[in-house]
């Protein structure tokens, strides 16, 4: 049994690795095709340098080599964990990503869990009270939320809860003018609430509608009818027979949403000036910081890849059918 699962996982892993390599190469080609001159971007527009200095930098960086040669040397550096230096932050790219990601993972983690739980619960409630006003209300809200731009919702939340009511701070991930060491966990959480809610809102509708549909399908099945005929109440039947069947698709969907989550966090972080990786990506993009943007793109691909891997590893744990198939192989 172990062997079958191991084989599936190994296949997935290999596929993922080839994908990552492809992403690396595509990113390089895109950067290569970009009209932005790396030397001008590095020097900045304020200071001028002579042609000789320019040539010396190009020589030093190996810009005169053919693209294939540059790709190889870039890959070598990448393998050593060196992604270059960010012009904008004047720090190594890996350091910027590490620092920023520590902030973002809190935000994304909270939002991910929130949207998973709320989405699932809303979906279950909606399906259990099918065709009632509650169901219709949940459905309408979900459809509205899934069609509205995430950043606009963030702005609305900020307007109501931060500006009008003053319950939450206006932005940033910590109070202004405090050293990183002095910020308490409560202050961090306080700053986290609105961005996390914004980020989770878009995920909620997706998972709620999906769960609702699945549960309705299951409630119409014969075994649910039988369970009710045996005398189980609606909620008991849902708890005993419904949950097990809808949990797998819900978990699958939630892991598949990791890619959306990363994209959404770019918007949420920018609305709330939350100093996370998404904000860094936008700063890099608007200030012509190619190494940082490339680094973040690669990192996001790695992140999505990890999410998919975890999902693949979890399936056999949750679903006995997959275990059996793996066993049969």
């Amino acid at each position: 049994m172990k062997k079958g699962i191991a084989k599936i996982i190994a296949e997935n892993f290999l596929r993922g690795v080839t994908l990552l390599i492809a992403v690396v190469i595509v990113t390089f080609l895109l950067a290569n095709a970009s009209p932005i001159d790396p030397i001008s971007a590095y020097v900045g527009s304020e200071s001028a340098i002579s042609e000789e200095q320019r040539a010396a930098i190009a020589e030093y960086w190996g810009l005169n080599e053919p693209p294939a040669g540059r790709l190889v040397s870039w890959l070598k550096a990448l393998a050593n964990g060196d992604m270059g230096r960010s012009y904008y932050f004047q720090q190594p790219v890996t350091a910027v990503i590490g620092e920023r990601f520590a902030q973002s993972i809190m935000l994304m983690g909270v939002a991910w869990v929130l949207s998973g739980i709320f989405g699932f619960l809303l979906g279950v409630i909606s399906a259990a009270c099918r065709n009632s006003p509650i169901d219709k209300a949940i459905k309408t809200v979900c459809l509205l939320l899934s069609s509205s731009p995430a950043f606009w919702l963030g702005l609305l939340l900020m307007m109501v809860f931060a500006v009008k009511l003053g319950w939450f701070p206006l932005g940033l991930s910590a109070p202004i003018g405090k050293l990183a060491g002095e910020v308490t966990i409560w202050e961090r959480l306080h700053h986290l609430v609105l961005p996390a809610v914004t980020l989770s809102i878009t995920g909620v509708s997706n998972i709620a509608l999906h769960t609702r549909q699945k549960l309705i399908d299951i409630m119409e099945s014969d075994f649910m009818l039988f369970a009710q005929a045996r005398g189980e109440g609606k909620w008991q039947a849902i708890r005993r027979h419904g949950f097990r069947n809808i949990l797998l698709p819900a978990v699958t969907l939630q892991f598949a949403a990791i890619s959306e989550l990363f994209g959404g966090s770019v918007l949420a972080e920018n609305v709330f000036s939350y100093t996370g990786i998404g904000q860094a990506a936008v700063l890099a993009g608007t200030h012509g910081d190619t190494p940082l943007l490339m680094g973040i793109a690669l990192f996001s691909a790695l992140f999505v890849f990890c999410g998919n891997m975890i999902a693949n590893l979890l399936y056999p744990v949750i679903d006995p059918q997959i275990r059996e198939v793996a066993h049969a192989k």
């Binding site: 596929r15 080839t18 994908l19 990552l20 492809a22 992403v23 595509v26 990113t27 895109l30 950067a31 095709a33 970009s34 009209p35 932005i36 459809l143 509205l144 069609s147 509205s148 731009p149 995430a150 950043f151 606009w152 702005l155 609305l156 900020m158 307007m159 500006v163 206006l170 890619s259 959306e260 990363f262 994209g263 959404g264 770019v266 918007l267 920018n270 609305v271 990506a281 936008v282 993009g285 608007t286 943007l293 490339m294 973040i296 793109a297 996001s300 691909a301 999505v304 890849f305």
Partner: protein
């Protein structure tokens, strides 16, 4: 009493007509907004410092901003740009999807694997990051956003097309047709195409809202269109600066208008599906 029974038994409009009416109304509104934006004179949203920061009123339905520009005119102009970019980019994207999806289903296992791998690769990077990367690398501006949206939106539709072609390809009536000596072209045009086209149209229309939302997001982040051009993303990102001043109309109304446009596209797609789908069309 009798009049009541009649009222229940015979609805005023039948459901199919009603669905069609919704679709046509939505299309008319969307074309209207797009056309209004295209033919709008720049005077409509010219700066006028006499009317700074006016709340919504009958002369300025969406209010005015800090330069006295009429927000309704700016919003319509911005939405029109968004609709045009979204429709064009989603159209290009759907062509890529059809070509790759069909190739993947028809050309055998190796091509299939390659296309699936390509799909995984595009989906491996978060949409927004990919959009940023592409529009950044192409030098910000309209074409960067267009190419970015076109390149990043095809995978889902390609999957749909592939599944559809695969299902029809192995269906018995197609097998029979082949055994009877029909040419490949005949089978493709007469048997497979009629099955794929409806799915393709619905998929294409449901791509539009995605494309428009992504266009707005990427402009909001400062990529894409320049700040002088009225785009919904630009308007909303400007309104962020006035959030604390209480000028709520700068944020709420343009965003709501964008939401409305997205909902209209969704309505067209969903209603079209109920009409095209043979299971629900007979209801």
């Amino acid at each position: 009493m009798p009049s009541k029974i009649v009222a229940v038994g015979k609805p005023l409009v039948n459901r199919r007509t009603w669905t069609l009416a919704i679709i046509i109304a939505a299309i008319v509104i969307l074309i209207g907004v797009a056309a209004a934006g295209v033919f709008m004179l720049p005077d409509a949203y010219a700066t006028n410092f006499e009317n700074k920061n006016l709340p919504p009123s009958f002369s300025h339905l969406f209010g005015t901003d800090w330069m006295g520009r009429d927000m309704l005119a700016r919003t319509v102009k911005g939405l029109s740009t968004s609709i045009l970019i979204g429709v064009l980019a989603a159209g290009i994207s759907s062509v890529i999807a059809v070509i790759l999806g069909t190739l993947s289903a028809v050309m055998g296992k190796k091509v299939d694997q390659a296309v699936l791998w390509l799909i995984d690769m595009v989906q491996g990077i978060p949409h927004l990051i990919l959009l940023m990367l592409i529009s950044f690398m192409l030098g910000k501006g309209l074409q960067g956003v267009m190419v970015g949206i076109a390149v990043s939106h095809w995978p889902n539709l390609a999957r749909v097309v592939r599944a559809e072609v695969l299902a029809v390809k192995n269906a018995q009536f197609v097998q029979a047709s082949r055994k009877m000596g029909r040419s490949r072209l005949f089978i493709a045009v007469r048997h497979i195409l009629p099955h794929v086209v409806p799915q393709y149209i619905v998929g294409l229309i449901l791509l539009f809202p995605h494309a428009i939302l992504h266009e707005a997001s990427i402009t909001f982040l400062g990529f894409g269109l320049s700040p002088e051009e009225p785009a919904v993303g630009v308007i909303l990102s400007e309104s962020m600066r006035y959030l604390t001043s209480g000028f709520w109309w700068l944020t709420v109304l343009p965003g709501a208008a964008l939401l409305l446009i997205v909902l209209l596209f969704d309505a067209i797609g969903d209603n079209l599906r109920t009409i095209i789908d043979p299971y629900s069309a007979q209801e």
